[in-house]
Amino acid sequence: MMSISKKIFSRSLFLFHLGGSACNNCDIEILDALTPKYDLERFGIIAVGSIRHADVILLSGIFNKKSAIRVRRMYEQAPKPVIVLAIGGCACSGLIFQDSYNWDVPVGDYIPIDAYVAGCPPKPEAIIAAITQVVDKLRNPAAAGAD
């Protein structure tokens, strides 16, 4: 029964873009991935405006000490199951802000992240590849190893 629900979940993913204080390049690349050129809707992926409708949370930008607490709150508001993707170097590791006075740990220490998409900014193809990898892992849990 679990696997059927995972398969259904993998066929219809609603994307929610949760931005930290980004320079907006990653935001633009996420926006590009949602344009007709890449047509994510044929995979069942559409963008939604409320965290309560989200199945995939795309984190972009740098999350400092203040906003990381809020991100934790937003993650708790998302109905489970939810997949979290960290888009861009800042969301993955802090990148050039690692020595900043307002940053202490990567946002992965605040909320569980399922996939990291490195890049500054990553191309829409990379973002889509991460989403499809996550979808494959959902559909074939045996092939990808334990959950």
């Binding site: 259904i8 066929r11 409708h53």
Partner: protein
């Protein structure tokens, strides 16, 4: 009404032409909407069963109830809409395909029932304890006031033309869209239907960018699935209602050619709804009210006058 007839009636409500049939038809129409939108935007679009996956997926998610609300109220508000549109669709399809089961005043009942989905959205919005939802809910209320006026006016056009208020008589009479007044009435009803379906240019209550999904902002899981299902079913029932009133419905009793033509008419109304949705910008609520109470109502009154003169 005997016990057997009661069981048949419940089965009709639940399966055909009730809940299961309307849900399936609505979700398929919703696919048609999304596929046509995709083609207009020069891309491929979702697979046929995508709307079914969307609704099924929402049953896999957990339900979050906001703090400080009446949870039974919050959770049951979506069901009002489902019940309303299912019953309306049952009556309409019965009128088209089993006209022996008529009752007097079924047109009025259908018009009341079609108000329930919008009402359930408002109830859900105010049960959400969220200022953005309240904003969306108040705009939906204004929108209802705006589109119900011209809609009720033009619903009188086929009544006057057929000299009867029963759906079966309206269907039996020649379709009023063949007359000029009927065509005008159909156009007005189309615009009012666009508002009832909260499609662009009238989707201000559920504006994604502006209000973060407005009325539905706090809904998740199965209750949200019920709302999405209601919207899909309205996308089926609304155009069917327009067809029944103005273009003779989708008759299966007169052979396959007439039925195919009816289906084509249905798809062309849905196509019009989708094309308007893809080409129009979103109107502010005051612009929408001014439009619906101004030129649209004027056209509705004109069509009433014309049909009274027999045009």
């Amino acid at each position: 009404m005997g016990k057997g007839e009661g069981v048949i009636a419940i089965a009709q409500f639940l399966f055909f032409p009730g809940l299961v049939f309307t849900a399936a038809a609505g979700l398929l129409t919703s696919w048609f909407d999304r596929k046509l939108t995709a083609r207009v935007q020069m891309r491929k679009g979702p697979p046929l069963l995508q709307p079914f996956y969307d609704v099924a997926k929402l049953f896999v998610k957990e339900t979050c109830v906001p703090e400080g609300t009446l949870s039974w109220f919050f959770l049951s508000a979506p069901l009002i809409g489902v019940a309303g549109v299912t019953l309306a669709s049952t009556i309409l399809c019965q009128a088209m395909w089993a006209p022996q089961d008529i009752f007097a005043g079924d047109l009025i009942v259908v018009m009341y029932l079609l108000a329930l989905p919008s009402l359930s959205m408002i109830l859900g919005a105010f049960a959400s304890q969220n200022p953005l939802a309240s904003l969306g809910g108040s705009r939906e209320m204004k929108l209802i006031m705006a589109y119900e006026l011209p809609f009720i006016l033009v619903a009188c056009v086929p009544i006057i033309a057929a000299r009867s208020i029963q759906l079966a008589d309206i269907l039996a009479a020649p379709p009023v869209a063949h007359q000029f007044s009927g065509l005008l009435a159909l156009l007005v009803a189309l615009i009012a239907m666009q508002a009832r379906l909260t499609r662009v240019p009238f989707d201000i209550p559920e504006a994604e960018c502006e209000l973060g999904s407005g009325v539905l902002i706090e809904y998740s899981g199965p209750p949200l699935a019920m709302y999405k299902l209601t919207q899909a079913m309205m996308l089926f029932t609304g155009p069917v209602f327009l067809l029944v009133l103005y273009a003779g419905g989708i008759p299966f009793s007169e052979g396959w050619l007439a039925a195919g033509l009816g289906l084509l008419k249905f798809l062309s109304i849905v196509t019009l709804v989708v094309l308007i949705r893809n080409t129009a910008p979103r109107l502010r609520i005051d612009q929408a009210m001014r439009l619906l109470w101004g030129p649209v109502t004027l056209a509705a009154i004109m069509s009433l006058v014309l049909v009274y003169w027999g045009l």
